[in-house]
């Protein structure tokens, strides 16, 4: 049962689902294979996960968004940056730049360092206009780095 050479029917069926189905020049894929192809492709299954021979790369069986996260990490970059933005105190001449995928972003200002820190004050930072924090007068400006538009406008659901 544990021989690596001969695989059980279940193992073969599941392996077929994981590896990207190839389109051979020979006979067309079976109905079962086609339906699993459709299902996985509809979910955004990434075709680049495996070499054509079926061998695994350094990320193993990782796929999808998890694989993207690992790929970025191996290049020293972050796929998702959840850390709060840091930088010098924003002034009118040199506002604090906040990046956003869209035309506006909700921002919380906690002031400067040490004694200058205050309770977080929330506001919506919009494209084209700077915003001054009502508590500590720090100035913010939005920098659109994504598709723009209203938040969530480019999502399909």
């Amino acid at each position: 049962m544990l021989r690596t050479a001969g695989r059980s029917l279940l193992s073969r069926a599941l392996h077929r689902a994981v590896v990207v189905p190839q389109h051979p020049a020979g006979p067309p894929p079976t109905a079962a294979l086609m339906s699993s192809q459709r299902w996985f492709n509809a979910s955004g299954f990434r075709a680049g996960s495996h070499a054509p021979s079926g061998a695994l790369d350094e990320f193993g069986i990782a796929t999808g968004v998890e694989r993207e996260e690992l790929e970025y990490q191996s290049q020293g970059k972050k796929r998702f940056d959840l850390d709060p933005p840091r930088g010098p105190f924003g002034t009118k001449e040199a506002p604090a730049i906040i990046e956003s995928n869209y035309d506006e972003r909700i921002v919380g200002c906690s002031g400067g360092l040490g004694e200058d820190e205050h309770d977080v004050t929330w506001f919506t930072l919009e494209k084209g206009q700077t915003h001054e924090c009502p508590v500590c007068t720090q100035v913010f400006e939005l920098k659109v780095i994504g598709p723009g538009g209203k938040p969530g406008s480019d999502e399909h659901h």
């Binding site: 690596t4 509809a42 979910s43 990782a62 998890e66 694989r67 998702f80």
Partner: protein, 265 residues
């Protein structure tokens, strides 16, 4: 879908399983009450409800495996959330067992005159803790050690060894369950033998039920490990099963010391 998501979280696709599970819970509770009061159809409804719950568990968790292993939705923060979730679930289970231990100590620390003002109560023939119960303690501890062996094998990439270690874990747990079952059948007292019987069988009974749940969880992990779902850096399903096994082990140690050993003197 070519849009890459901007956040690392998993927004789950709509699923019918929560509804099915709720309907199963409704059927189980109503069917259970009907059955206990001898209404016609009670047993049938209860069985239907329990079946629905088991089916829900199967399809729901199958979908989680599809979303994680096959679709790659489980990023680092998703995994972190699942870790918190499992820990909180186990904490809630600890609270559950705390209730039964409370009941046991309430009755045994100040035994009433009706049972002879002694513990164990007059007339109760207690089990020798150093017989099967002690053997079971060693079996469960070994099972816990085996699951740790399996974990290290997974971390080191020894896939076949991990399967063997999981099989050992499962076999030991099954032997424990077998011995407990035998003890239950052969015990000189029953659940209706006063407060001793009630506290003993409820506490050890729910523990045994949790051992069986943990064993099923580990069997699923063994199958997944055999199929290659777990990687050296990402195998949270296995870790959750291992945490659950250790929790069950700790509960048994408390049971052994308080109910079997202290409660038997």
């Amino acid at each position: 879908m070519s849009v890459s998501q901007k956040h690392p979280y998993h927004l789950v696709d709509p699923s019918p399983w929560p509804l099915l599970g709720s309907l199963g819970a409704l059927a189980s509770t109503i069917g259970g009450v009907m059955y206990m009061h001898s209404f016609t159809g009670g047993g049938t409804l209860l069985s239907l409800g329990l079946g629905m719950i088991l089916y829900t568990m199967f399809v729901w968790w199958r979908d989680v495996i599809r979303e994680s292993t096959y679709e790659g939705h489980h990023t680092f923060v998703v995994q972190l959330g699942l870790r918190y979730g499992m820990i909180l679930f186990i904490v809630s289970e600890v609270m559950f067992f705390l209730a039964f231990f409370w009941a046991f100590f309430h009755s045994s620390l100040a035994p009433t005159v009706e049972i002879g003002a002694i513990w164990p109560p007059k007339g109760i023939d207690v089990l020798n803790p150093w017989g099967i119960p002690f053997l079971n303690t060693l079996i469960l501890l070994s099972s816990g050690a085996a699951v740790t062996w399996a974990h290290h094998a997974i971390l080191a990439g020894f896939k076949k060894q991990a399967v063997y270690a999981l099989v050992a874990t499962i076999l030991l747990a099954l032997v424990f369950t077998g011995f407990q079952g035998m003890e239950y059948v052969e015990a000189p007292f029953t659940i209706s033998d006063g407060i001793y019987g009630s506290t003993f069988f409820l506490a050890t009974g729910f523990h045994g039920f949790h051992v069986i749940i943990g064993t099923i969880f580990l069997i699923i992990c063994a199958i997944r490990q055999y199929l290659g779902h777990f990687t050296q850096t990402h195998h949270f399903g296995f870790e959750a099963a291992a945490w659950y096994r250790h929790f069950v082990d700790v509960v048994w140690l408390f049971l052994f010391v308080s109910i079997y050993w202290w409660g038997g003197n």
